[in-house]
Amino acid sequence: MPHDHPHHDAPPDPMTERVRQLEERLVAQGLVDPAAVDAIIETYAEKVGPRTGAAVVARAWTDPEFADWLARDATAAIGSMGYAGRQGEHMQAVFNTPTLHNLIVCTLCSCYPWPVLGLPPVWYKSPAYRSRAVIEPRAVLAEFGLELPPQVQIRVWDSTAELRYLVIPMRPEGTEEMTVDELAALITRDSMVGTGLPVAPERVSG
């Protein structure tokens, strides 16, 4: 293709271009060191994620004293396992029971407990989830394949301040012999947001 027809090339993605130019200016102005940006990305892409939360939940399932601490002071209990930081400074653990299911949302923006769950998924940040979780949580859960019986109350926690919530799902039946690591493998991200339940043990061990 001749060089005098540059518009024949695929146009660059506008956001790619916009962010690239912004970073270029920020770096040129001495405001940002790109290696720090790399380090931030590496932290959330590779180090922080829902496996952290799963470890907290699995320990709560197997260590009643820890579960009690988690219920009283989640920030300290989770911090004792080495998990803390931005968007998880003030933690609260909320426990599912046979008659109560907890669901987390942030209607105003997309607050989410980063240190234990990583960055939020797109659906958590979507207007659909943020607007509907508080008015029709059962309909929203059904869209995740989770149909709760009517006798189970649903408590929706709208994260309007700097408290960040972690759902502690119920330990599935038939897991009495499993180790903490085996249990952690059952604990999905969604089960700690309240849009899912832990995986049934036969699906993991089988």
């Binding site: 993605d13 997309s110 998924p121 509907r132 008015i135 408590r155 309007t160 969604d190």
Partner: protein, 200 residues
């Protein structure tokens, strides 16, 4: 008018494009410069025109908010090009992210409300930033917990300092919020600063 179904994505990646990762990194790295706080940055995002806000992806909203903040604080003034004294060093990233920010504040005097109290979310419509969702305004709920003093976003977003107030978790019955169209057996809580609430 409605937003349609929630669409979970199977095996969702942390980022859907390289620019999303840069957007996250740039937002956090510039935040570390100390020119604005989390409430001002939330307000910058939420002040986008509604059609732009609703048609932008999450990280696009972040980038538009960041551009607004940089502009408001004059940080892209071409004259300045020496490294910013608080520029985040790569070696400091892990510590800064792990430390986070403590939003609690000591507060004097007794709490106005106690767990079990019936309260009403005030029917306020401030022109500036607030964290009292519209759907609870004017509705009655029950105080479930008192969390001590926290930085007040309504002040902090506008450079008016911490203005700490006590924070409460207030639970609303679904039927009180949504009337006969509520789903049965549902309740919603919000975390509300003391000035958001009035006794019943």
């Amino acid at each position: 008018m409605g937003f349609g179904p929630v669409r979970p994505e199977v095996n969702e990646p942390v980022f859907h494009a390289a620019w999303e990762a840069r957007a996250l990194g740039l937002t956090l790295a510039t935040g570390a410069l100390g020119h604005w706080n989390i409430d001002e940055s939330r307000h910058a995002r939420e002040s986008l025109p509604p059609a732009v806000y609703l048609s932008s992806s999450y990280y696009e909203i972040w980038i538009r908010g960041l551009e607004a903040l940089l502009d408001r604080h004059g940080l892209l003034d071409p004259a300045a090009s020496v490294p910013h004294p608080r520029r985040l060093a790569p070696g400091a990233v892990a510590q800064v992210l792990a430390a986070g920010t403590d939003y609690t504040r000591p507060i004097a005097g007794p709490p106005r409300f106690r767990p079990g109290d019936r309260v009403r979310a005030r029917n306020i419509h401030p022109r500036g930033h607030t964290r009292l969702p519209r759907y609870v305004r004017g509705h009655a709920g029950i105080v479930e917990a008192e969390h001590g003093g926290f930085v007040l976003p309504d002040a902090n977003a506008h450079g008016q300092g911490d203005a700490p107030e006590r924070l409460y978790t207030v639970v609303f019955d679904g039927a009180d919020l949504w009337g006969p169209d509520a789903e049965p057996g549902t309740s919603v809580s919000v975390d509300a600063w003391e000035s958001y609430l009035e006794p019943i």
